[in-house]
Protein backbone atom coordinates (compact mmCIF):
# COMPACT_ATOMS: atom_id res chain seq x y z
CA UNK A 1 0.00 0.00 0.00
CA UNK A 2 1.36 3.35 -1.01
CA UNK A 3 0.90 5.38 2.17
CA UNK A 4 2.34 8.74 1.18
CA UNK A 5 1.43 10.36 -2.12
CA UNK A 6 4.40 12.07 -3.76
CA UNK A 7 3.45 15.71 -3.00
CA UNK A 8 3.10 14.83 0.66
CA UNK A 9 6.45 13.16 0.78
CA UNK A 10 8.04 16.31 -0.65
CA UNK A 11 6.13 18.60 1.69
CA UNK A 12 6.96 16.52 4.70
CA UNK A 13 10.63 16.46 3.76
CA UNK A 14 10.83 20.21 3.32
CA UNK A 15 8.89 20.76 6.52
CA UNK A 16 11.37 18.59 8.40
CA UNK A 17 14.32 20.40 6.84
CA UNK A 18 12.87 23.77 7.79
CA UNK A 19 12.24 22.70 11.34
CA UNK A 20 15.53 20.98 11.98
CA UNK A 21 18.13 22.44 9.65
CA UNK A 22 17.31 26.12 9.82
CA UNK A 23 19.59 26.98 12.70
CA UNK A 24 19.89 30.71 13.03
CA UNK A 25 23.28 32.32 13.34
CA UNK A 26 23.88 35.28 15.59
CA UNK A 27 24.11 38.59 13.71
CA UNK A 28 26.76 39.74 16.17
CA UNK A 29 30.25 39.50 14.62
CA UNK A 30 33.14 37.92 16.49
CA UNK A 31 35.14 40.56 18.38
CA UNK A 32 38.90 41.02 18.13
CA UNK A 33 38.93 41.67 21.87
CA UNK A 34 37.79 39.60 24.84
CA UNK A 35 34.21 40.07 26.02
CA UNK A 36 33.61 40.29 29.75
CA UNK A 37 30.64 40.18 32.06
CA UNK A 38 30.49 40.84 35.79
CA UNK A 39 28.67 38.03 37.48
CA UNK A 40 28.31 39.50 40.94
CA UNK A 41 29.70 40.54 44.28
CA UNK A 42 29.51 38.22 47.26
CA UNK A 43 30.42 38.20 50.93
CA UNK A 44 30.56 41.94 51.16
CA UNK A 45 31.74 43.35 54.46
CA UNK A 46 33.46 46.52 55.55
CA UNK A 47 36.85 44.82 55.17
CA UNK A 48 36.47 42.52 52.17
CA UNK A 49 34.39 41.50 49.17
CA UNK A 50 34.43 38.70 46.62
CA UNK A 51 34.15 39.73 42.97
CA UNK A 52 33.17 37.26 40.25
CA UNK A 53 33.39 37.77 36.48
CA UNK A 54 33.27 35.73 33.32
CA UNK A 55 35.26 35.93 30.07
CA UNK A 56 32.57 35.20 27.49
CA UNK A 57 34.65 35.16 24.31
CA UNK A 58 38.34 35.17 23.55
CA UNK A 59 40.01 37.94 21.60
CA UNK A 60 42.92 37.60 19.20
CA UNK A 61 45.66 38.71 21.59
CA UNK A 62 46.77 36.77 24.67
CA UNK A 63 45.75 38.09 28.07
CA UNK A 64 48.66 39.77 29.82
CA UNK A 65 46.74 40.91 32.86
CA UNK A 66 43.24 40.62 34.27
CA UNK A 67 41.48 41.54 37.48
CA UNK A 68 39.00 43.92 39.04
CA UNK A 69 38.84 47.62 39.64
CA UNK A 70 36.43 49.39 41.99
CA UNK A 71 35.59 52.77 43.42
CA UNK A 72 32.83 55.05 44.73
CA UNK A 73 32.31 57.08 41.58
CA UNK A 74 31.35 56.00 38.12
CA UNK A 75 33.46 56.15 36.04
CA UNK A 76 36.20 55.77 38.58
CA UNK A 77 39.31 54.72 36.66
CA UNK A 78 42.26 57.11 36.99
CA UNK A 79 40.55 58.87 39.89
CA UNK A 80 41.79 58.94 43.48
CA UNK A 81 40.35 56.38 45.80
CA UNK A 82 39.86 53.50 43.43
CA UNK A 83 41.13 50.02 44.05
CA UNK A 84 42.58 47.51 41.65
CA UNK A 85 43.29 43.83 42.04
CA UNK A 86 45.62 42.26 39.46
CA UNK A 87 45.35 38.53 38.89
CA UNK A 88 48.06 38.12 36.26
CA UNK A 89 47.97 36.51 32.83
CA UNK A 90 45.60 33.71 31.83
CA UNK A 91 44.25 31.91 28.82
CA UNK A 92 40.83 30.98 27.53
CA UNK A 93 37.31 31.85 28.54
CA UNK A 94 35.55 31.15 31.83
CA UNK A 95 34.87 32.47 35.27
CA UNK A 96 37.38 34.15 37.50
CA UNK A 97 36.92 35.43 41.03
CA UNK A 98 38.89 37.03 43.81
CA UNK A 99 38.39 38.20 47.37
CA UNK A 100 39.83 41.61 48.08
CA UNK A 101 40.81 42.97 51.49
CA UNK A 102 39.90 46.66 51.48
CA UNK A 103 38.73 49.25 53.94
CA UNK A 104 35.32 49.99 52.43
CA UNK A 105 33.31 52.90 53.78
CA UNK A 106 30.21 51.43 55.35
CA UNK A 107 26.86 52.03 53.69
CA UNK A 108 28.49 53.74 50.72
CA UNK A 109 27.72 52.60 47.20
CA UNK A 110 30.73 51.12 45.39
CA UNK A 111 31.06 50.06 41.82
CA UNK A 112 33.18 47.19 40.53
CA UNK A 113 34.06 45.98 37.07
CA UNK A 114 36.44 43.34 35.73
CA UNK A 115 39.15 44.07 33.19
CA UNK A 116 41.37 42.20 30.77
CA UNK A 117 44.55 43.70 29.31
CA UNK A 118 46.32 42.57 26.17
CA UNK A 119 49.20 44.20 24.28
CA UNK A 120 46.98 46.74 22.51
CA UNK A 121 43.61 46.56 24.28
CA UNK A 122 42.03 46.97 27.67
CA UNK A 123 38.50 45.69 28.06
CA UNK A 124 36.25 46.58 30.98
CA UNK A 125 33.21 44.52 31.83
CA UNK A 126 29.91 45.98 33.00
CA UNK A 127 29.78 47.81 36.32
CA UNK A 128 27.94 46.30 39.26
CA UNK A 129 27.02 48.29 42.36
CA UNK A 130 27.40 47.00 45.91
CA UNK A 131 27.12 48.42 49.41
CA UNK A 132 29.42 47.21 52.20
CA UNK A 133 27.62 46.52 55.46
CA UNK A 134 29.04 45.82 58.90
Amino acid sequence: MKFWPKPFAILFLIFSVLLVACSDESPSPAREYHQLETQGVQAVSAASATFIANILTSGKEPILQHGFTWGRTRPFADKPGFGTKYLGSRTGTGTFATTVEYAFTKKSVYYVRPFVKTANTIVYGNMVAFTPNP
Binding site: F8, L11, L18, P27, S28
Partner: protein
Protein backbone atom coordinates in the same frame (compact mmCIF):
# COMPACT_ATOMS: atom_id res chain seq x y z
CA UNK B 1 18.79 31.13 3.38
CA UNK B 2 15.47 30.49 5.06
CA UNK B 3 13.71 33.02 2.84
CA UNK B 4 15.01 31.11 -0.15
CA UNK B 5 13.74 27.88 1.33
CA UNK B 6 10.36 29.37 2.05
CA UNK B 7 10.18 30.84 -1.42
CA UNK B 8 11.02 27.42 -2.82
CA UNK B 9 8.33 25.84 -0.67
CA UNK B 10 5.76 28.40 -1.76
CA UNK B 11 6.66 27.84 -5.39
CA UNK B 12 6.48 24.10 -4.89
CA UNK B 13 3.07 24.38 -3.25
CA UNK B 14 1.89 26.53 -6.13
CA UNK B 15 3.00 23.85 -8.57
CA UNK B 16 1.37 21.14 -6.52
CA UNK B 17 -1.89 22.96 -6.11
CA UNK B 18 -2.10 24.82 -9.40
CA UNK B 19 -3.55 21.87 -11.35
CA UNK B 20 -6.15 21.43 -8.64
CA UNK B 21 -7.43 24.94 -9.21
CA UNK B 22 -8.39 23.95 -12.71
CA UNK B 23 -9.43 20.43 -11.89
CA UNK B 24 -13.10 19.66 -12.37
CA UNK B 25 -14.92 17.42 -10.00
CA UNK B 26 -17.71 15.37 -11.56
CA UNK B 27 -20.00 13.20 -9.50
CA UNK B 28 -22.51 10.56 -10.55
CA UNK B 29 -25.86 12.20 -11.23
CA UNK B 30 -28.62 12.71 -13.73
CA UNK B 31 -30.62 15.25 -15.68
CA UNK B 32 -34.36 15.13 -16.36
CA UNK B 33 -35.38 16.42 -19.74
CA UNK B 34 -38.63 18.26 -20.46
CA UNK B 35 -40.19 15.23 -22.04
CA UNK B 36 -39.53 13.28 -18.85
CA UNK B 37 -36.46 11.29 -19.90
CA UNK B 38 -33.88 10.83 -17.18
CA UNK B 39 -30.31 10.57 -18.44
CA UNK B 40 -27.74 9.16 -16.08
CA UNK B 41 -24.18 10.50 -16.20
CA UNK B 42 -21.86 12.83 -14.36
CA UNK B 43 -22.70 16.26 -12.92
CA UNK B 44 -19.98 18.78 -12.26
CA UNK B 45 -19.96 19.55 -8.54
CA UNK B 46 -20.11 23.27 -7.96
CA UNK B 47 -21.00 25.67 -5.19
CA UNK B 48 -22.19 29.26 -5.24
CA UNK B 49 -24.76 31.06 -7.35
CA UNK B 50 -23.81 29.12 -10.47
CA UNK B 51 -25.71 26.04 -9.28
CA UNK B 52 -28.99 27.95 -9.73
CA UNK B 53 -28.18 29.14 -13.24
CA UNK B 54 -26.92 26.04 -15.02
CA UNK B 55 -25.63 22.51 -14.64
CA UNK B 56 -22.70 20.95 -16.45
CA UNK B 57 -23.41 17.38 -17.43
CA UNK B 58 -21.63 14.67 -19.37
CA UNK B 59 -23.09 11.22 -20.04
CA UNK B 60 -19.76 9.42 -19.52
CA UNK B 61 -16.32 10.05 -18.08
CA UNK B 62 -14.67 10.75 -21.41
CA UNK B 63 -17.66 12.30 -23.12
CA UNK B 64 -17.74 16.05 -23.77
CA UNK B 65 -19.59 18.07 -21.18
CA UNK B 66 -22.65 20.19 -21.92
CA UNK B 67 -24.18 23.06 -20.05
CA UNK B 68 -27.93 23.01 -19.35
CA UNK B 69 -29.98 26.00 -18.25
CA UNK B 70 -33.34 25.92 -16.45
CA UNK B 71 -35.03 26.29 -19.85
CA UNK B 72 -33.30 23.17 -21.22
CA UNK B 73 -34.13 20.64 -18.51
CA UNK B 74 -36.62 20.28 -15.67
CA UNK B 75 -34.26 18.92 -13.05
CA UNK B 76 -30.79 17.68 -12.26
CA UNK B 77 -29.31 15.94 -9.31
CA UNK B 78 -26.26 14.32 -7.77
CA UNK B 79 -26.85 10.83 -6.44
CA UNK B 80 -27.12 10.73 -2.64
CA UNK B 81 -26.62 14.45 -2.52
CA UNK B 82 -28.37 17.51 -3.93
CA UNK B 83 -31.40 17.79 -6.19
CA UNK B 84 -32.38 20.82 -8.29
CA UNK B 85 -35.63 21.60 -10.12
CA UNK B 86 -36.32 24.23 -12.72
CA UNK B 87 -39.03 26.68 -11.59
CA UNK B 88 -40.38 30.08 -12.46
CA UNK B 89 -40.93 32.20 -9.38
CA UNK B 90 -40.94 35.76 -8.08
CA UNK B 91 -37.68 36.67 -6.36
CA UNK B 92 -37.12 39.16 -3.54
CA UNK B 93 -37.01 42.05 -6.05
CA UNK B 94 -40.50 41.13 -7.29
CA UNK B 95 -39.00 39.98 -10.56
CA UNK B 96 -40.15 36.82 -12.25
CA UNK B 97 -37.20 34.49 -12.59
CA UNK B 98 -36.60 31.07 -14.01
CA UNK B 99 -33.86 29.19 -12.24
CA UNK B 100 -32.85 25.91 -10.69
CA UNK B 101 -34.04 25.70 -7.10
CA UNK B 102 -32.36 23.34 -4.72
CA UNK B 103 -34.84 20.86 -3.30
CA UNK B 104 -34.23 20.60 0.41
CA UNK B 105 -37.26 18.44 1.23
CA UNK B 106 -39.56 16.64 -1.20
CA UNK B 107 -42.99 15.44 -0.11
CA UNK B 108 -46.55 16.53 0.32
CA UNK B 109 -45.02 19.78 1.35
CA UNK B 110 -41.76 20.62 -0.44
CA UNK B 111 -39.07 23.07 0.58
CA UNK B 112 -36.77 24.80 -1.91
CA UNK B 113 -33.85 27.17 -1.62
CA UNK B 114 -32.61 29.78 -4.04
CA UNK B 115 -29.73 32.05 -2.99
CA UNK B 116 -30.67 31.98 0.71
CA UNK B 117 -34.38 32.44 -0.12
CA UNK B 118 -36.73 29.69 0.96
CA UNK B 119 -39.86 28.61 -0.90
CA UNK B 120 -42.57 26.12 -0.02
CA UNK B 121 -44.99 24.30 -2.26
CA UNK B 122 -47.82 21.99 -1.27
CA UNK B 123 -48.80 19.15 -3.55
CA UNK B 124 -46.61 20.57 -6.33
CA UNK B 125 -48.67 23.75 -6.37
CA UNK B 126 -47.35 27.32 -6.71
CA UNK B 127 -44.14 28.24 -4.94
CA UNK B 128 -44.63 30.57 -2.01
CA UNK B 129 -41.82 32.55 -0.45
CA UNK B 130 -41.15 31.72 3.19
CA UNK B 131 -39.61 34.78 4.82
CA UNK B 132 -39.98 36.92 7.89
CA UNK B 133 -40.99 40.45 7.05
CA UNK B 134 -39.81 43.05 9.54
CA UNK B 135 -41.74 46.26 10.11
CA UNK B 136 -38.98 48.82 10.48
CA UNK B 137 -39.87 52.54 10.72
CA UNK B 138 -36.68 53.27 8.79
CA UNK B 139 -34.37 56.28 8.97
CA UNK B 140 -35.64 59.35 10.79
CA UNK B 141 -37.43 59.97 14.05
CA UNK B 142 -36.58 62.04 17.08
CA UNK B 143 -33.39 61.77 19.13
CA UNK B 144 -34.12 59.75 22.24
CA UNK B 145 -37.21 58.20 20.75
CA UNK B 146 -37.58 54.49 21.35
CA UNK B 147 -37.77 52.71 17.99
CA UNK B 148 -39.52 49.42 17.71
CA UNK B 149 -39.15 46.87 14.96
CA UNK B 150 -41.60 44.01 14.83
CA UNK B 151 -41.57 40.78 12.90
CA UNK B 152 -44.61 40.11 10.76
CA UNK B 153 -46.57 36.94 11.44
CA UNK B 154 -47.37 36.33 7.74
CA UNK B 155 -44.86 33.48 7.48
CA UNK B 156 -46.45 31.78 10.51
CA UNK B 157 -49.90 32.17 8.97
CA UNK B 158 -48.57 30.65 5.74
CA UNK B 159 -47.01 27.70 7.58
CA UNK B 160 -50.14 27.16 9.64
CA UNK B 161 -52.37 27.23 6.57
CA UNK B 162 -50.14 24.75 4.73
CA UNK B 163 -49.87 22.38 7.69
CA UNK B 164 -53.41 22.76 8.99
CA UNK B 165 -54.35 19.14 8.17
CA UNK B 166 -51.46 17.84 10.26
CA UNK B 167 -50.14 20.52 12.62
CA UNK B 168 -46.42 20.59 13.35
CA UNK B 169 -45.20 20.78 16.96
CA UNK B 170 -45.38 24.24 18.49
CA UNK B 171 -41.78 24.10 19.60
CA UNK B 172 -40.67 23.91 15.95
CA UNK B 173 -42.81 26.91 15.01
CA UNK B 174 -41.51 28.80 18.02
CA UNK B 175 -38.01 28.62 16.50
CA UNK B 176 -39.10 30.62 13.45
CA UNK B 177 -41.17 33.38 15.03
CA UNK B 178 -38.55 36.08 14.47
CA UNK B 179 -36.11 34.48 12.05
CA UNK B 180 -36.23 31.57 9.67
CA UNK B 181 -33.09 29.65 9.00
CA UNK B 182 -32.79 26.65 6.72
CA UNK B 183 -32.35 23.92 9.38
CA UNK B 184 -35.49 25.09 11.22
CA UNK B 185 -37.52 25.27 8.00
CA UNK B 186 -36.34 21.77 7.03
CA UNK B 187 -37.38 20.47 10.46
CA UNK B 188 -40.89 21.96 10.11
CA UNK B 189 -41.45 20.59 6.60
CA UNK B 190 -40.06 17.17 7.57
CA UNK B 191 -42.34 17.06 10.62
CA UNK B 192 -45.38 17.87 8.52
CA UNK B 193 -44.55 15.33 5.81
CA UNK B 194 -43.90 12.58 8.34
CA UNK B 195 -47.32 13.30 9.82
CA UNK B 196 -49.26 13.83 6.58
CA UNK B 197 -47.58 11.44 4.13
CA UNK B 198 -44.56 9.83 5.71
CA UNK B 199 -43.66 7.60 2.76
CA UNK B 200 -43.38 10.48 0.33
CA UNK B 201 -40.87 12.51 2.33
CA UNK B 202 -37.34 12.78 0.97
CA UNK B 203 -34.86 15.02 2.68
CA UNK B 204 -31.84 15.61 0.48
CA UNK B 205 -28.30 15.71 1.93
CA UNK B 206 -29.76 14.13 5.06
CA UNK B 207 -26.53 12.27 5.74
CA UNK B 208 -24.63 15.55 5.83
CA UNK B 209 -24.64 17.43 9.16
CA UNK B 210 -25.50 21.11 9.33
CA UNK B 211 -22.44 21.85 11.42
CA UNK B 212 -19.38 19.84 12.30
CA UNK B 213 -15.85 20.66 13.25
CA UNK B 214 -12.42 19.15 12.94
CA UNK B 215 -10.14 19.70 15.86
CA UNK B 216 -6.47 19.00 16.15
CA UNK B 217 -3.07 19.83 17.50
CA UNK B 218 -0.21 21.26 15.50
CA UNK B 219 3.46 21.97 15.70
CA UNK B 220 5.46 24.08 13.35
CA UNK B 221 7.98 26.75 12.67
CA UNK B 222 7.50 30.51 12.79
CA UNK B 223 9.94 32.57 10.79
CA UNK B 224 10.05 36.33 11.04
CA UNK B 225 12.26 39.38 10.91
CA UNK B 226 11.62 42.04 13.49
CA UNK B 227 12.70 45.65 13.16
CA UNK B 228 12.68 48.46 15.65
CA UNK B 229 10.67 51.52 14.75
CA UNK B 230 11.86 53.79 17.52
CA UNK B 231 14.26 53.66 20.41
CA UNK B 232 17.46 55.11 21.84
CA UNK B 233 20.87 55.08 20.11
CA UNK B 234 19.52 54.62 16.59
CA UNK B 235 18.11 51.17 17.39
CA UNK B 236 15.88 51.45 14.34
CA UNK B 237 19.03 50.65 12.36
CA UNK B 238 19.56 47.42 14.27
CA UNK B 239 19.90 44.39 12.07
CA UNK B 240 17.52 41.60 13.11
CA UNK B 241 18.05 38.63 10.82
CA UNK B 242 15.22 36.26 9.98
CA UNK B 243 14.68 33.94 12.89
CA UNK B 244 12.80 30.66 13.23
CA UNK B 245 11.01 29.57 16.39
CA UNK B 246 8.86 26.59 17.22
CA UNK B 247 5.11 27.14 17.60
CA UNK B 248 2.53 24.76 19.03
CA UNK B 249 -1.22 25.09 19.16
CA UNK B 250 -4.74 23.93 18.57
CA UNK B 251 -6.68 23.82 15.33
CA UNK B 252 -10.41 24.06 14.76
CA UNK B 253 -12.18 23.97 11.43
CA UNK B 254 -15.91 24.69 11.45
CA UNK B 255 -17.67 23.33 8.41
CA UNK B 256 -21.28 22.93 7.34
CA UNK B 257 -21.20 19.99 4.89
CA UNK B 258 -24.90 20.43 4.17
CA UNK B 259 -24.29 24.02 3.16
CA UNK B 260 -20.88 23.83 1.56
CA UNK B 261 -18.13 21.28 1.23
CA UNK B 262 -15.63 23.91 0.17
CA UNK B 263 -16.07 26.81 2.55
CA UNK B 264 -15.24 26.60 6.22
CA UNK B 265 -14.05 28.72 9.11
CA UNK B 266 -10.62 27.86 10.45
CA UNK B 267 -9.52 28.98 13.89
CA UNK B 268 -5.96 28.37 15.03
CA UNK B 269 -4.69 29.18 18.51
CA UNK B 270 -0.94 29.07 18.84
CA UNK B 271 1.63 29.57 21.52
CA UNK B 272 5.28 30.34 21.02
CA UNK B 273 8.37 31.25 22.97
CA UNK B 274 10.53 33.22 20.60
CA UNK B 275 14.08 34.47 20.67
CA UNK B 276 15.47 37.19 18.44
CA UNK B 277 18.97 38.61 18.21
CA UNK B 278 19.86 41.97 16.77
CA UNK B 279 23.16 43.79 16.22
CA UNK B 280 23.91 47.44 15.67
CA UNK B 281 27.30 49.01 14.98
CA UNK B 282 27.76 52.76 14.87
CA UNK B 283 31.10 54.25 13.80
CA UNK B 284 32.01 57.64 15.26
CA UNK B 285 35.25 59.59 14.68
CA UNK B 286 36.95 58.34 17.86
CA UNK B 287 34.69 55.54 18.99
CA UNK B 288 32.84 52.51 17.72
CA UNK B 289 29.58 51.55 19.45
CA UNK B 290 28.51 47.94 19.21
CA UNK B 291 25.11 46.89 20.59
CA UNK B 292 23.70 43.37 20.86
CA UNK B 293 20.00 42.88 21.55
CA UNK B 294 18.59 39.60 22.84
CA UNK B 295 14.80 39.63 22.80
CA UNK B 296 12.64 36.92 24.34
CA UNK B 297 8.92 36.98 23.61
CA UNK B 298 6.16 34.68 24.81
CA UNK B 299 3.20 35.04 22.50
CA UNK B 300 -0.35 33.75 22.12
CA UNK B 301 -2.07 34.10 18.76
CA UNK B 302 -5.61 33.56 17.61
CA UNK B 303 -5.94 33.27 13.85
CA UNK B 304 -9.34 33.26 12.15
CA UNK B 305 -9.48 32.46 8.46
CA UNK B 306 -12.09 31.70 5.86
CA UNK B 307 -10.98 28.51 4.13
CA UNK B 308 -11.74 27.44 0.59
CA UNK B 309 -11.05 23.84 -0.37
CA UNK B 310 -9.99 23.95 -3.98
CA UNK B 311 -10.65 20.34 -4.90
CA UNK B 312 -11.42 16.98 -3.30
CA UNK B 313 -9.24 14.10 -4.26
CA UNK B 314 -9.61 10.70 -2.66
CA UNK B 315 -7.52 11.50 0.40
CA UNK B 316 -6.11 14.92 -0.30
CA UNK B 317 -7.93 18.23 0.01
CA UNK B 318 -5.79 21.28 -0.78
CA UNK B 319 -7.10 24.64 0.33
CA UNK B 320 -6.54 28.37 0.39
CA UNK B 321 -7.38 30.53 3.39
CA UNK B 322 -7.52 34.24 4.17
CA UNK B 323 -8.17 36.02 7.42
CA UNK B 324 -6.81 37.96 10.34
CA UNK B 325 -4.52 37.21 13.23
CA UNK B 326 -4.54 38.58 16.75
CA UNK B 327 -1.29 38.34 18.67
CA UNK B 328 -0.95 38.90 22.40
CA UNK B 329 2.49 39.36 23.94
CA UNK B 330 2.24 37.51 27.23
CA UNK B 331 5.79 38.25 28.29
CA UNK B 332 8.75 40.04 26.77
CA UNK B 333 12.29 40.78 27.77
CA UNK B 334 15.04 42.54 25.87
CA UNK B 335 18.65 42.52 27.00
CA UNK B 336 21.01 45.13 25.62
CA UNK B 337 24.79 44.72 25.64
CA UNK B 338 26.53 47.93 24.67
CA UNK B 339 30.28 48.05 24.00
CA UNK B 340 32.06 51.33 23.38
CA UNK B 341 35.52 51.08 21.79
CA UNK B 342 37.82 54.11 22.04
CA UNK B 343 41.38 54.25 20.70
CA UNK B 344 43.81 56.49 22.58
CA UNK B 345 47.55 56.42 21.78
CA UNK B 346 47.10 53.21 19.79
CA UNK B 347 45.60 51.48 22.84
CA UNK B 348 41.99 50.40 22.50
CA UNK B 349 39.73 50.71 25.51
CA UNK B 350 36.45 48.84 25.49
CA UNK B 351 33.78 49.66 28.06
CA UNK B 352 30.84 47.31 28.51
CA UNK B 353 27.33 48.27 29.64
CA UNK B 354 24.43 45.88 30.21
CA UNK B 355 20.83 46.98 30.50
CA UNK B 356 17.34 45.70 29.97
CA UNK B 357 15.07 47.24 27.37
CA UNK B 358 11.30 47.18 27.53
CA UNK B 359 9.41 45.97 24.48
CA UNK B 360 6.74 48.58 24.10
CA UNK B 361 4.16 46.24 22.61
CA UNK B 362 1.42 44.08 24.07
CA UNK B 363 -0.76 43.31 21.08
CA UNK B 364 -0.51 43.28 17.33
CA UNK B 365 -2.74 42.28 14.52
CA UNK B 366 -2.25 41.37 10.92
CA UNK B 367 -3.69 40.13 7.68
CA UNK B 368 -2.89 36.56 6.84
CA UNK B 369 -3.15 34.12 3.96
CA UNK B 370 -2.46 30.41 3.89
CA UNK B 371 -2.10 27.54 1.51
CA UNK B 372 -2.39 24.03 2.84
CA UNK B 373 -3.75 20.60 2.42
CA UNK B 374 -5.24 17.81 4.45
CA UNK B 375 -4.46 14.16 3.99
CA UNK B 376 -7.04 11.62 5.15
CA UNK B 377 -5.46 8.85 7.19
CA UNK B 378 -8.71 7.34 8.43
CA UNK B 379 -12.39 8.32 8.56
CA UNK B 380 -11.73 10.16 11.78
CA UNK B 381 -8.10 11.18 11.49
CA UNK B 382 -6.15 13.26 9.05
CA UNK B 383 -2.95 15.22 8.69
CA UNK B 384 -2.78 18.87 7.77
CA UNK B 385 0.15 20.78 6.31
CA UNK B 386 -0.06 24.52 6.05
CA UNK B 387 2.12 27.41 4.95
CA UNK B 388 0.84 30.75 6.21
CA UNK B 389 2.04 34.28 5.58
CA UNK B 390 1.23 37.10 7.98
CA UNK B 391 1.77 40.80 7.53
CA UNK B 392 1.51 42.38 10.95
CA UNK B 393 1.04 45.90 12.15
CA UNK B 394 2.57 46.32 15.59
CA UNK B 395 1.10 48.76 18.06
CA UNK B 396 3.01 50.54 20.83
CA UNK B 397 1.59 50.36 24.33
CA UNK B 398 2.60 53.91 25.11
CA UNK B 399 4.51 56.89 23.78
CA UNK B 400 8.19 56.34 23.24
CA UNK B 401 10.32 57.91 25.94
CA UNK B 402 13.96 58.60 25.16
CA UNK B 403 15.04 58.44 28.80
CA UNK B 404 14.62 54.70 29.00
CA UNK B 405 15.33 51.78 26.73
CA UNK B 406 11.78 51.31 25.64
CA UNK B 407 11.68 50.22 22.04
CA UNK B 408 8.93 50.09 19.48
CA UNK B 409 8.87 47.18 17.11
CA UNK B 410 8.11 47.82 13.51
CA UNK B 411 5.79 45.96 11.13
CA UNK B 412 6.93 42.47 10.43
CA UNK B 413 6.51 39.70 7.92
CA UNK B 414 6.04 36.20 9.26
CA UNK B 415 5.87 32.77 7.74
CA UNK B 416 4.41 29.80 9.55
CA UNK B 417 4.81 26.26 8.38
CA UNK B 418 2.80 23.82 10.46
CA UNK B 419 1.80 20.19 10.53
CA UNK B 420 -1.33 19.20 12.40
CA UNK B 421 -2.96 15.97 13.51
CA UNK B 422 -6.68 16.37 13.04
CA UNK B 423 -9.44 14.30 14.56
CA UNK B 424 -13.24 14.55 14.55
Amino acid sequence: MKQTLLLALTTLCSFIFAPSLYAQSYRPGFIVKAEGDTIQGLIKYREGKGIYRACVFKPAEKAPSQKYTPSDIVAYGIHNDAMFESHTFTNNKNKETKAFLEVLVHGKLSLYEYQNMLFVSKDRDTLQRLAVKVNDPGIGGIVGEIRTTTASTKHLILLNSLTMDCPVPDELLAEVVKKINTPNAVAIVEAYNKCAASASNITYKQHKPWLTFDKGLFIGSHTTDFAFAEGPNSVHNTNFPVRSNVVIGGHLNLVSPRRSEKLSLQVDALFSKEQYQGYLEVQRPLTIHRTDFDIDITRFSAVIMGRYTTVRWKQVKPYLAFGASNNFILNSKAKRRFESETTINNIKQVDTFLSEATINMGYYTGATAAVGTTYLLHDKYKLLFQLRYERSVLFANREFSNDDFTVHLNSNNSFYITAAYIFR
